[in-house]
Amino acid sequence: MITAERKPMEELIECLKPYHRILLVGCNECVTVCAAGGRKEVGILSSALQMAFKTEGKNLEVKEITLERQCDPEYVEELVTHIDQAEAVMSMACGCGVQEIARRFKDKPVYPAVNTTFMGASERQGVWAERCQGCGECVLGLTGGICPIARCSKQLLNGPCGGSTNGKCEVDPDIDCAWQLIWDRLKALGLEDRYEENIPAKDWRTGRGGGPRKIIREDLVK
C-alpha cells in the first residue's frame, strides 16, 4: 500500500486560515489501511480542526466525505455536488488523490492533509515499513524476494556493505540489513550460488531517471 502520515495540526490550521467552509476528503484505499486518511481519520481531523478554529473565536464548516478511491476520476466525480459549497478542499489521500482533485476542480484550492511517505507493508498492527521504490524493473527474483533498492540504505545491488552488524544496518539498529535478509533467504532456498553473480549497474530509465512515467495498456484504452 501507499503509506502516509498526518501533517502537524499547526501546518493544517495555517493553510486553512483564509477559509470558512471546506470539504475534507478521505480515501477508502491505502490511507484507510495505514490509518492516515480513511473515514475514521477524516472524522478525527474534522473535529480537531473545528475545535482549533473555535478556540480562536472562528468558525470552520467542514463537510466530510470519504471516497472509494481518490486516485480514480470516476470516484472524484462524486464531489461535484458538494464542491460549490466549499471554498477549499483538504484531502487526506496520498499525493495521487490530492492531484486528482486538483486536476478535476481547476478553480478550487486543494491542500494535502497528509505526507505521503512510501510504498510499504504492515509489519504488525500500527507499524508499516518500506518495501518498494517502484524502480520499474523488478529484481526481487534475483534477491530472494527482498528488495535491496528499497531496503538497503545504500541501495546496493551487490551488498552487504561493511556496516552490517548482527543483521542490522549501520544507519539505524532498527533497520534490518537487507543483504543479511537476502542471504538468509537464499540459504534457506538453497540458492547460495546466486549470490556469486554480480548484478550489473541498474538502468534507472524505468524508474524516475526517465522522467514521469506512464503505463498505456492498448487493450484497455478507450
Binding site: K40, I44, S47, A52, K54, T55, E56, G57
Partner: protein, 144 residues
C-alpha cells in the same frame, strides 16, 4: 470564572468503573455531580472520535475508566484505550486545548472509593484548568 462548574464526561466500562460507580452509590459516597457517566461495554470500545466529540460539544474534561491491568473482560481493551487516550492527548496539545483535559484511569468493580476519588480529583483538576476553550470562545462568539 470562580463559579465555574466543569462538565466532565466519564466513559465507564460496564465491568469495572460502572459497577464501581454503583458501589460508590450504595456506600453513600459523595462525588461531584459534574461527572456525567456513559456506560460502555469495554473501555476499548471508546474511540478517539467519541472523546473528541465530547469536547467539541462542550465537555470541559473527559476520562475513560477501564479495568485494572490484566483484568479486561475482553483481554486488552483497557490497554488499547490507554494508547488511544495518549494519542488524543497529543492531538489536543497540538491544537492548544491541552492534553491534560483527557485522562485514562483504571479500577476494579469493587473500588467504589477509587471511583468517587477519581471523580473528585478530575473535577478539581478541570476546575483549575478552567472551561474548555472551545466552549468559551464560541460563547464569546455568540455574545458578539
Amino acid at each position: 470564572m470562580e463559579n465555574f462548574e466543569p462538565t466532565i464526561v466519564a466513559f465507564c466500562c460496564h465491568y469495572c468503573a460502572y459497577t464501581a460507580a454503583d458501589m460508590a452509590g450504595s456506600k453513600r459516597l459523595c462525588y461531584p455531580s459534574n461527572v456525567k457517566i456513559i456506560r460502555v461495554p469495554c473501555s476499548g470500545k471508546v474511540d478517539s472520535i467519541h472523546i473528541l466529540k465530547a469536547l467539541e460539544m462542550g465537555a470541559d474534561g473527559v476520562y475513560v475508566a477501564g479495568c485494572l491491568e490484566g483484568d479486561c473482560h475482553f483481554k486488552n481493551g483497557n490497554i488499547e484505550a490507554s494508547k488511544r487516550v495518549a494519542y488524543i492527548k497529543k492531538l489536543l496539545d497540538e491544537i492548544n486545548i491541552g492534553g491534560e483535559r483527557v485522562e485514562m484511569v483504571l479500577m476494579s468493580a469493587g473500588m467504589g472509593e477509587r471511583f468517587a476519588q477519581t471523580a473528585v480529583d478530575m473535577t478539581e483538576k478541570i476546575r483549575k484548568l478552567g472551561p474548555n476553550p472551545v466552549k468559551s470562545a464560541s460563547k464569546a462568539d455568540h455574545a458578539a
